[in-house]
Each structure stands twice: as structure tokens, then as C-alpha cells.
């Protein structure tokens, strides 16, 4: 009996020693793969859309080749990424589309996350139809005419209604409410992931079929499949406050960067660099297109962009 107690005491103490004595702080836990072999590591969160991959690819390339860091990337959805950022599992989010709840909780109240300035890109969500369709039916770009065309957008999934294709569940969307409140004869079909949505849009475009989709800019796919936005009732401040009563378009959002507070203070050159990182929509699309359409690896795409835009990134490192 005494032996067993001794064992368990030993086990508990060694565990306590291992984990740094006393209380184990859940808010400060880096990835086990970080800072291996004495190299300095930055962990970046990548979201599932290609624009976010482009930001990360270029930041990663510069951190690795100009500042001598090792970079780990982790793909996390938007809201969990905020949580991971506050816990220090990732060091930075480079492209955030606006999460007022999370900002209040982590930036203002808990102060575990710090604002790191704008990305320089403005995002906008909307409903889009392919441009070849607009050429045949020029009045389709107003939501008031959508019901006239709903039979054209029918698919096996939408049944007797027209199909409005939505994307990943992690994206901000009011589409179900919009369809109801604007009395549209449409069925929202969720593609479930951006990849599935892009694949489906490309298939439609190849056959010049009509489709109506939730989509957003900046996006590289516009270069491959030209699309035109459908006008929804104009956005006014606060018209989307009640999620069930929304009947207006989506806002234009300047995209923001966020850093873990500890990293922002102690991250040295890497943190300073990520705060200065700021580019244009065209820059981002250039890299995105290389990754998603020409199938270059993110590292190769980043290298190509870095080689051809020295003046842009030199300012980030100064």
C-alpha cells in the first residue's frame, strides 16, 4: 500500500515538475512542433480560402528566406482560429473578415489578442451570376428579376425552386434569411466547403450553364470565370443587426490582421514584419491565381511574386 502511494506521489510530482509546477496555464500553449531544434518558429493560421493561403505563402517565404524563421502553418476555421490565437497555438491571423463578438471578447476584454492593422485588401460578399448569362439576360443583375429566372437555376438538389449555391459553413452568410425576406423562389444549397463550391462553379462554367452563387471578392476565380454581382437592396449601417430580419446586401469590409498579444510584444522581427505586411487586392490575386489555378505550390508562387515585387516587400522588412 505504502509503495503504491509513493508511486502515485512521485507520478504527480513529476507531472507537476514537467508542466512547470503549480497551475497549468491553458492560455499559454504553443504547438509542440514549434521552435524545434533551436530555430525560431512562427505559427500562422491559414483559412480555407485561397486568398488567405496567398497571404500566408508570401509571409512564410519572407520569414523563412529573409528573416531566418521556421514557419508552421495550421488550417483552422475562422472562429476557432480566434480561440487558437488567444491561446497562443497560432501566432497570427493575416486576414479577418470581421468578427465583432470575438473582437470584443479577446481584444477588448481579455486582451490576449492585439490588432495588427489592415491587410490593405477590402473584402465584399455578394450574389454573383456568370457574365455569359448576363449577356443573354441583361436584367438578371437586379434581385427583383430573380424570380422570373428561378426555373433556369433548378438542379436535382434544389427541386422545384432555383438553386442559390452557398459555400463553407465557416463563412458569414445571411442567405437563408435573405431568400425568405425578399420572397425569392430559391433554395439555398450549401456546398459545404469552398473547394466543393469552386469545383462545381468551374464545371458549370465549362458548359456555360446558368448558376447563381454566394461569392466574394477578392477572389482569383473571377479571372477564370468572369462573374457579375446581382444587386441586392443597398447596405445601410445596422441593417444586418437582426439575423432573421436581414433584407439588405453585405457590407464592404477592410480586412484586418491580428496577433497573439504575447507574440506581438516578444515576437521580435517576425512580429514587426507581420504588423507592416500590407498589400493590394491585385497582389493577392496574382499569388492566389498561381496557387489555385496554375497549381504552383504556395512556396513557388510566393517566390515568383517576391522576385517580381521587391519594392513592396522591402518596406515590410525595414
Amino acid at each position: 500500500m505504502r509503495v503504491r502511494t509513493a508511486y502515485s506521489v512521485a507520478a504527480v510530482t513529476s507531472l507537476a515538475l514537467l508542466s512547470g509546477c503549480g497551475a497549468a496555464d491553458m492560455t499559454k500553449q504553443a504547438s509542440p512542433f514549434a521552435n524545434a531544434q533551436g530555430s525560431k518558429t512562427v505559427t500562422l493560421s491559414v483559412q480555407s480560402w485561397v486568398g488567405a493561403q496567398a497571404n500566408v505563402a508570401v509571409a512564410q517565404y519572407l520569414l523563412e528566406h529573409k528573416l531566418d524563421y521556421r514557419v508552421d502553418t495550421v488550417q483552422v476555421d475562422e472562429v476557432p482560429a480566434w480561440d487558437a490565437l488567444s491561446q497562443g497555438r497560432v501566432d497570427a491571423i493575416l486576414e479577418d473578415w470581421g468578427h465583432p463578438d470575438q473582437e470584443k471578447r479577446y481584444v477588448d476584454d481579455k486582451k490576449t489578442i492585439t490588432r495588427a492593422g489592415g491587410l490593405g485588401v477590402t473584402g465584399h460578399i455578394g450574389w454573383y451570376v456568370p457574365t455569359y448569362l448576363v449577356k443573354q439576360h441583361p436584367d438578371i443583375i437586379d434581385w427583383k428579376n430573380l424570380n422570373k429566372y428561378s426555373s433556369m437555376f433548378r438542379t436535382a438538389e434544389s427541386g422545384s425552386k432555383g438553386q442559390l449555391m452557398d459555400g463553407s459553413p465557416s463563412y458569414v452568410t445571411n442567405d437563408k434569411a435573405l431568400v425568405t425576406n425578399l420572397k425569392l423562389n430559391y433554395q439555398v444549397v450549401f456546398a459545404g466547403s469552398e473547394a466543393a463550391q469552386i469545383t462545381q462553379m468551374k464545371q458549370f462554367a465549362k458548359e456555360k450553364k446558368p448558376f447563381l452563387t454566394y461569392w466574394y471578392a477578392p477572389q482569383w476565380l473571377f479571372k477564370k470565370v468572369p462573374m457579375t454581382e446581382v444587386k441586392l437592396p443597398a447596405y445601410k449601417e445596422g441593417c444586418d443587426a437582426d439575423a432573421t430580419k436581414v433584407a439588405c446586401a453585405y457590407p464592404h469590409t477592410p480586412l484586418e490582421k491580428y496577433l497573439n498579444t504575447d507574440f506581438a510584444k516578444k515576437g521580435g522581427k517576425a512580429a514587426a514584419f507581420l504588423k507592416k505586411f500590407k498589400w493590394t487586392t491585385e497582389d493577392q490575386n496574382e499569388v492566389s491565381l498561381m496557387i489555385a489555378d496554375q497549381k504552383l505550390s504556395p512556396a513557388d508562387a510566393a517566390k515568383k511574386w517576391v522576385d517580381s515585387h521587391p519594392s513592396t516587400w522591402k518596406a515590410w522588412l525595414s
Binding site: 524545434a36 459553413p169 456546398a191 473547394a195 469545383t199 464545371q203
Partner: protein
């Protein structure tokens, strides 16, 4: 002697069964005649009555906020979860650092030497080649991250499983109590419980490891208990007569005797853990799974495959090596002294190789030595989608098939299920489960189904159920046909084996995008992916079942001049009935797991809600969907549970 008498009772059995089944159904009809009018008078709606639902979104939302607000101050987190989390992070990190320090040469040498000691030269070469292939594909570092994660997850699962198994093996009562728990753990689709783990531990490695342990520990527990129970009683008696204490008996006799089962348990645990590696990437586990997941975001099937292949290679190598270890224990067990020295040599050789590589400055995988398979693979996928999607002469394109399948099969099944009055669904479930199993399984099934209604997700659950039914039907038709063919031709079976290995171990995420490219967005691609994933298990079990049919029975049929079709229909299929039922059961469970992931490609219903909950951190939606998935899984498992499974599943 046993083989000669076996057919007689088997022939008599169906009659008895039918009799008993009729009894059960009659009883059920009687109960229904009394209860249904009552239920109908109170809640006359077709769908689950609103009065009988519980809305959990309020309390769950509050729980969510409480956890986030108190994670850095509450003692539960500081002194309990925090320690677990830190311990996991530290041990994964330790393993990862050792692997990195060994370098690619050291790790490859170590893998090959272990395989050589355990399983012979051929597997040693295979292991070495597999590791080199991971490097060649440019995946060395992610492979090491996954390996580090797997080592910790498997060790934890083995310890947890062995302790549970020990308790079950030594005490009859514990065993009975544990069984339903283990059953349930294995039936749960892993996707359903990612959210609660994430909420407590946050995104990242600790959550991933713990989710893996929940999934991978049950086979170890089951096989440990089985091994302890099956220990030769004569040996035990002999040990006892020598005056050994209980603990001595356990350590010197029972555990060594159970070694074969223990190794089989280890094998199963490793396979289950690896299959979680990719799903865990959704919650930020990193490594190979994350590479697959990231590649999919840019619709890059080639890159996803490049990360998927190392997972398959790891799985195949670990499977073969541990299986070989289990087979050869009989000769070499028991003399640790004689086997220790080669191990020391192996370790020495590894260290030597690692040191040489380090001195040569080739610790990291050389960046020039990579093979780019992404591009050719993507070209093949593009060709497929360009030529098969639509407009194939006479046959129509895959998109048309998917459309027809949705309109003609999925829609009617879904609408039919949702049209059925809720109490009749419960009755059907009860009838099926009772006829196939016992009153206990019937009760569990009905309660699980009722719980879905109470949670308020009756309609989406029936939507998911319709997808499962359609996918299972397709899987069984294809699986039985292939299985029968494989049972009749050795050559076909040999050719099939690697294909099945790949289908079974390739992460499901890899084929989610090709199925969208072929079948468009919707429920059809979800069904297609589920069929691909569940098919190997059904084929394997069918083949095995048919092959194990008593040769004496077949011989006598042949001597009576039965044609080969008659032999199949009248002897093999009826005698293999338990195996076929097991195939149905496994098919259902596996299909459900993938139909859920189909939420990522437009499958909708519960799968979408589960993904939504994870993506938005919305505990109310995600957890309710997860619970409904669990209930659906339980119901489907119990409804198809053959009474023979208990003994089969352990092995």
C-alpha cells in the same frame, strides 16, 4: 467430428428463428395497437411532435461562454485539463525532437531494423522504401509530425485500453458493464465528438490526441479482456498450484499467454489511430492530415494525394509489421534474454547511421530529392472531369447519373421517411432490431431514435438516414458481388488486396474533391464517397465468410452434382449468413461516418450542422447534431447487430 454434425442443427435453425420472429412481431403489433392510438390522439403530427422536444441552445450556449471565460482561471482547467494538455504537448514534442534528431537516415534505418527483427527481411525492405517514399514526395517533416502524434496517441490508447481490458478480463461484472461502453465508443463517428474536445482543449495537438484515444482505445480493451479470459486454464492451474499470488499469476502466466491478442489489439489500435490522423486535422492537428486538408482548400487533388500516400504507406507498414509480430510469438515468446542482443545491435546501428548522417550534414531531407506527383495527378483528374462529367454518348455523364440518383432514389427515400408518422418509424426500428437481435438491442435502438426526436432534429436526421440507406444499398450490391468473385478466384483476390488496402487507409478527404468534380455538389457525391470507403470492409468480410464455409458441406454438394451457382446459392450463402450480416453491420457504420463528412461537399443535414458547429464554434448546433449522429449510429448498429458479432468483432 464437429464438422460432420454441424449442418444438422443449422438446417433446423431457420424454422425456429422464423417461429420466434413471428412471436416477437405479434407481441410488438399488440403493443402498437394499444400505444399508437394514444400517441396519435395526443400528438397527431406526422413529424416528431414539438411538445416532446427539448431546446438545448440556451444552456449549451452558456456552457460555451463559461468554458471560454474560465479556461484561464477555474481550477478544473488549471489543475486538471491543463495538466493533461501540457503532458500531451510535452510528450509529442519530445518524440518529435527525437525523430528530428535522428534525421531521415536514422529514422529510416531504425524503422527497417525493427521491421527486420520483428517480421523478416522482406518487410524490412518494404519499410525502408516506404520511409524513403515519404521523403521523396516532399513530406518528410509532416510525416514526422504525424508519426510523433501517432506514437503518443497509440501509447496512450494502449495504456488506457489495456487498463480497461485488464479490469474487464479479471472481473466478469466489470466486463459486462464495459461492453456497451466500448461498443458505443466504436460506433460513434469521430466527427461528432471533435467539437466538445476542442471546446475544452482548444484547437491543436492535445485535442487531436484525445479524440484519437477515444476512437482507438476500444479494440485494445476488448482484445486484452478476450486474451485474459481465453488463457489456458490448465496452465493457470499449474501456476496456482505452485503457490503464486494473484499478481504473480497475472504477470507470469495470464499476460504472457494473452500476448497474441495483445499484439492484435495493438495492431487494431494503430490502424484506428491513423484513420483519425486526417479527421483530426480539422481541429488543427498538423502534420500529413493538415497537408491533405490544405491542399483540398485550393482544389489540388494532386497535392492532397502526395500527402495521402505517406498515410497509406505508414498504415500498410505498421499493419504488416505488427501483424507479423502477432503471428510469430509462439516460437519466440518467453525468453527475453535471447532476443535482447539483436535489438541492441539494431539500436546501435541506428545511432551509427544517424551520427554519420549528421556528420555528413544531411539531417534534413535533401530538398532536391523530391518527386512532384501533383501535376500528373491533376492532369488525370482534369481529363476525367472533362470527359466523364457530361455528354458521354449513350451512357450520359456522371453529372446526369448523380442527378438521376438524387431525383429517383435519394429524394423519394427522404420524402418517404419524413412522411412516415414518427411513431411508425419507432415501430419499424423496434421490429427490425428485435427480429435480428434481442429485446435489449431493440430497446436501445428505439430509445436512440426517440432521443433524436427529443433533441429536435428529427427531419435532418431522417435526411441523413436516407443517404445512409441509399449508400448502404449500393455498397452491399457492389460489395457482395465483388466478395463472391474474390472468394471464387484466388488470383482476383490477390489482385484486389492492394486496392482494398488503399481504399481503406486513404484519408476520405482525398476523394471528396474528385467526387464533386464527377458528381457535382449535393448529396450524390457524399453517397459516392461513402460507398468507396465502406466497400473494402464489406468485400473483405464477405470473401472471408464465404471461404470459411465448411469444406465438407461443399464437398458433399459437389458429389451430388450441384452446379457452382447452386453451390453458391444453396450452401455457401446460407452458411455464410453470420458473416454477411456482419458485413451489413460494418457497412452501415462505415457509411454513416463518411456521409457525415459529406457535409463538406453539399450532403447537408446532420453533417452540415456538425461542420457548422465546428467552424462557427457554435456549441448548440454542433453538439446537438453530434449527439443526433451518435444516436443514429447507435440505432443503425443495434438494428443490424447480428448476435454473433460479440465474438467476431473482437478478433
Amino acid at each position: 467430428m464437429a464438422t460432420a454434425t454441424a449442418p444438422a442443427p443449422r438446417l433446423a435453425l431457420p424454422g425456429v428463428l422464423r417461429h420466434r420472429a413471428a412471436h416477437k412481431l405479434l407481441l410488438l403489433a399488440l403493443a402498437a395497437a394499444i400505444l399508437v392510438p394514444l400517441a396519435n390522439a395526443h400528438w397527431a403530427s406526422g413529424s416528431w411532435p414539438h411538445d416532446l422536444t427539448v431546446d438545448l441552445s440556451g444552456p449549451l450556449g452558456r456552457a460555451n461562454d463559461w468554458i471560454i471565460d474560465n479556461r484561464d482561471s477555474s481550477p478544473v482547467f488549471l489543475y486538471f485539463f491543463g495538466y493533461i494538455s501540457n503532458a500531451v504537448v510535452l510528450s509529442v514534442r519530445a518524440v518529435y525532437l527525437v525523430l528530428l534528431a535522428a534525421g531521415w537516415a536514422g529514422v529510416t534505418a531504425f524503422g527497417a531494423l525493427v521491421a527486420w527483427r520483428v517480421a523478416g527481411v522482406r518487410l524490412a525492405v518494404g519499410t525502408g522504401v516506404a520511409f524513403l517514399a515519404c521523403g521523396l514526395l516532399g513530406m518528410w517533416v509532416p510525416t514526422m509530425q504525424t508519426l510523433a502524434l501517432m506514437v503518443v496517441a497509440v501509447l496512450t490508447s494502449v495504456v488506457v485500453g489495456a487498463l480497461l481490458g485488464l479490469a474487464g478480463g479479471l472481473s466478469e461484472r466489470t466486463d459486462r458493464a464495459l461492453r456497451p461502453v466500448l461498443d458505443t465508443m466504436q460506433v460513434l463517428p469521430a466527427f461528432a465528438y471533435l467539437l466538445p474536445v476542442v471546446l475544452v482543449f482548444g484547437i491543436g495537438v492535445p485535442a487531436a490526441v484525445l479524440a484519437t484515444v477515444v476512437y482507438a482505445a476500444p479494440p485494445m480493451a476488448r482484445l486484452t479482456a478476450l486474451g485474459l479470459r481465453n488463457a489456458d486454464p490448465e496452465v493457470l492451474e499449474a501456476v496456482e498450484s505452485l503457490g503464486a499470488t494473484g499478481r504473480q499469476r497475472l504477470l507470469t502466466a495470464r499476460l504472457p499467454l494473452a500476448r497474441k491478442q495483445l499484439l492484435l489489439g495493438l495492431n487494431q489500435t494503430i490502424m484506428m489511430a491513423l484513420s483519425m490522423a486526417v479527421i483530426a486535422s480539422v481541429i488543427g492537428a498538423g502534420g500529413l492530415g493538415d497537408r491533405v486538408y490544405q491542399a483540398l482548400a485550393s482544389v489540388d487533388v494532386g497535392a492532397a494525394l502526395a500527402a495521402g500516400i505517406p498515410i497509406v504507406l505508414l498504415a500498410v507498414v505498421l499493419d504488416r509489421v505488427t501483424a507479423a509480430a502477432g503471428e510469430q510469438t509462439d516460437e519466440s515468446a518467453g525468453e527475453p534474454g535471447s532476443t535482447l542482443r539483436p535489438w541492441l545491435y539494431a539500436l546501435g546501428a541506428t545511432v551509427a547511421v544517424a551520427v554519420v548522417a549528421r556528420l555528413a550534414g544531411a539531417l534534413d531531407w535533401p530538398s532536391g530529392w523530391t518527386l512532384n506527383i501533383a501535376e500528373p495527378v491533376n492532369r488525370v483528374v482534369d481529363w476525367m472531369t472533362a470527359h466523364l462529367y457530361s455528354g458521354v454518348p449513350y451512357l450520359g455523364g456522371t453529372a446526369d447519373w448523380a442527378g438521376h440518383f438524387t431525383t429517383w432514389v435519394l429524394d423519394p427515400v427522404r420524402d418517404g421517411l419524413q412522411w412516415l408518422p414518427w411513431w411508425s418509424v419507432l415501430l419499424i426500428v423496434a421490429a427490425l432490431a428485435w427480429v435480428i437481435g434481442t429485446w435489449r438491442t431493440a430497446l436501445t435502438a428505439v430509445l436512440a431514435m426517440a432521443a433524436i426526436g427529443v433533441l429536435g432534429v428529427w427531419k435532418p436526421s431522417l435526411d441523413t438516414l436516407s443517404q445512409v440507406l441509399a449508400a448502404v444499398a449500393v455498397t452491399l450490391v457492389l460489395g457482395f458481388a465483388t466478395g463472391i468473385a474474390a472468394a471464387r478466384s484466388d488470383r482476383f483476390e490477390r489482385a484486389l488486396r492492394p486496392v482494398l488496402d488503399v481504399c481503406q487507409t486513404m484519408p476520405q478527404f482525398v476523394y471528396l474533391i474528385p467526387v464533386v468534380a464527377l458528381f457535382g455538389v449535393g448529396r450524390a457525391p457524399a453517397v459516392a464517397a461513402a460507398v468507396v470507403y465502406a466497400l473494402p470492409a464489406v468485400v473483405r468480410i464477405t470473401t472471408q465468410g464465404l471461404r470459411q464455409v465448411d469444406p465438407a458441406a461443399l464437398e458433399s454438394a459437389r458429389s451430388l452434382g450441384a452446379t457452382s451457382a447452386q453451390q453458391l446459392r444453396q450452401i455457401q450463402l446460407p452458411l455464410a449468413r453470420p458473416a454477411l450480416l456482419l458485413a451489413v453491420n460494418q457497412g452501415v457504420v462505415l457509411v454513416l461516418a463518411v456521409v457525415i463528412i459529406g457535409g463538406l461537399v453539399g450532403g447537408g443535414a446532420l453533417g452540415y450542422d456538425a461542420v457548422f458547429g465546428l467552424a462557427q464554434g457554435d456549441l448548440a448546433t454542433g453538439l446537438v447534431a453530434g449527439a443526433a449522429i451518435v444516436c443514429l449510429g447507435l440505432m443503425l448498429d443495434r438494428v443490424t447487430q447480428p448476435t454473433e458479432r460479440r465474438t467476431k468483432k473482437g478478433a
